[in-house]
């Protein structure tokens, strides 16, 4: 076990903790933050895990991947936050409403005849 393994394991741990949060937490901002954190976890793994022959020459490909990934994550988080705020504005609640799956909620139950 090298010290690099600690980073790799940290990355895996962060990823799984964040995945757990995305699934179980109901609040939208929590979910968005957790998705961002999943990305961070993957970046840690990408930087620490791939092979290294010589401590002075690092593999530039994962570094490039992480740089690209950070920018992509920022973009995605921005949109997700924007959408989350619109959900709060439109529904008054920061939680996603549960969709009933088995049948349409009756679209026009109390409506007067057209």
């Amino acid at each position: 076990m090298t010290s690099l393994d600690l980073y790799t394991w940290a990355g895996v741990a962060v990823f799984l903790l964040a995945l757990h949060a995305v699934v179980t937490r109901a609040h939208l901002i929590w979910k968005v933050l957790a998705i961002n954190l999943m990305g961070t976890g993957v970046f840690l793994v990408l930087l620490a895990a791939p092979a290294r022959r010589d401590p002075l020459m690092a593999d530039p490909l994962p570094q490039g991947m992480v740089l690209t990934g950070i920018v992509v994550a920022v973009a995605a988080t921005a949109l997700a936050l924007g959408m989350a705020l619109r959900v709060v504005a439109r529904t008054g609640s920061p939680f996603l409403t549960v969709e009933t799956e088995t049948a349409d909620p009756d679209p026009d139950a109390p409506e007067a005849p057209s």
Partner: protein, 305 residues
């Protein structure tokens, strides 16, 4: 973000910013103050999945994590990487001396192009979201009234600009480059915006769109124009690599900065919800036409009713 910041926005007259324009049946023109939204964002965890499910999921993920951790143990030492050798071998042909820059802007330039396209996509997507009042910006003619903030701005912003230019140029030989510079510029832009000195242009003004699109457009144009000469998209001709890369980095830095500041301004400008939209049939009338009937274009009249 305090209420006073939003009240110094475009209309100025309405401190809470939460009223809708009288008489409009479409989306209101003004926005919701962040302070109004904050209570809605509280979470005491009561809506989360029940504790049992949380524990079950945790028990499911734990062995997965252990398996991954074991599998990745010592991964860094146990394999022989090929890519670094290939990079070292071909780096001199790329026109830059930093291997990561070589990867990002030459070997895998296509990914960098797409990465900026992701930023543009996010920006266009945020623009397509309903928007309320823009939250920042001093009314015209008002000077910033705060001496400490002004002093900090006078120090920080020019330094940021200079450093950004330097970072863009430095990218060819050291870890630096377009995105780092763009982020720094964006930071300066955010600082100026929050201070109110920089007035964000109203919704997606043309110069913003041109600059933001310019990053991707420049990349694609360069890529296509070298096609007849070198036979592949974005394959820099002999001797042109360094200047093209430098030019692209500069364009990208500016574009990234503009996009990031634009995102910063647009994401939190929350619209006021028009309650009339709740009554609209969500599948029959997704654009809410029943509320504000659009003029039907005369040349497109379909069959007579």
């Amino acid at each position: 973000m305090t209420p006073s910041t939003s009240s110094s926005g475009d209309n100025g007259a309405d401190p809470s910013g939460a009223s809708s324009t009288p008489g409009s049946s479409g989306t209101a023109a003004t926005g919701v103050d962040a302070a109004d939204v904050r209570p809605l964002l509280e979470d005491d965890g009561s809506r989360d999945d029940p504790a049992l499910l949380k524990w079950l999921l945790g028990l499911l993920l734990l062995p997965m994590g252990l398996a991954l951790a074991l599998g990745l143990r010592g991964a860094a030492d146990s394999r022989d990487p090929r890519i670094p050798d290939l990079v070292a071998e071909f780096l001199p042909e790329t026109g830059v001396s930093n291997p990561v820059t070589g990867v990002l802007l030459n070997f895998r330039g296509y990914d960098t192009l797409l990465e900026v396209a992701v930023l543009v996509a996010a920006m266009v997507a945020v623009w397509s979201l309903d928007r309320g009042e823009r939250l920042f910006g001093l009314p015209r003619g008002r000077d910033l009234d705060e001496p400490v903030l002004t002093a900090i701005l006078r120090l920080a912003v020019p330094t940021a600009f200079l450093t950004a230019v330097y970072l863009t140029w430095l990218g060819s030989s050291e870890p630096a480059g377009a995105f780092q510079a763009g982020a720094l510029l964006a930071g300066a832009g955010v600082l100026l915006t929050v201070a109110g000195v920089l007035r964000p242009p109203t919704a997606a003004a043309l110069p913003v769109r041109v600059i933001a699109a310019g990053g991707v457009a420049g990349f694609v144009v360069v890529g296509i124009s070298v096609l007849p000469f070198t036979g592949a998209f974005l394959a820099y001709p002999e001797g042109w690599a360094y200047p093209l890369i430098l030019g692209l980095e500069a364009a990208l830095a500016v574009a990234v900065a503009v996009i990031l500041v634009e995102l910063f301004v647009d994401v939190p400008s929350i619209p006021v919800h028009d309650p009339a939209l709740d009554a609209v049939d969500p599948y029959g009338d997704p654009l809410g036409r029943a509320l504000a009937p659009d003029p039907v274009p005369p040349e497109d009249e379909g069959e007579a009713s």
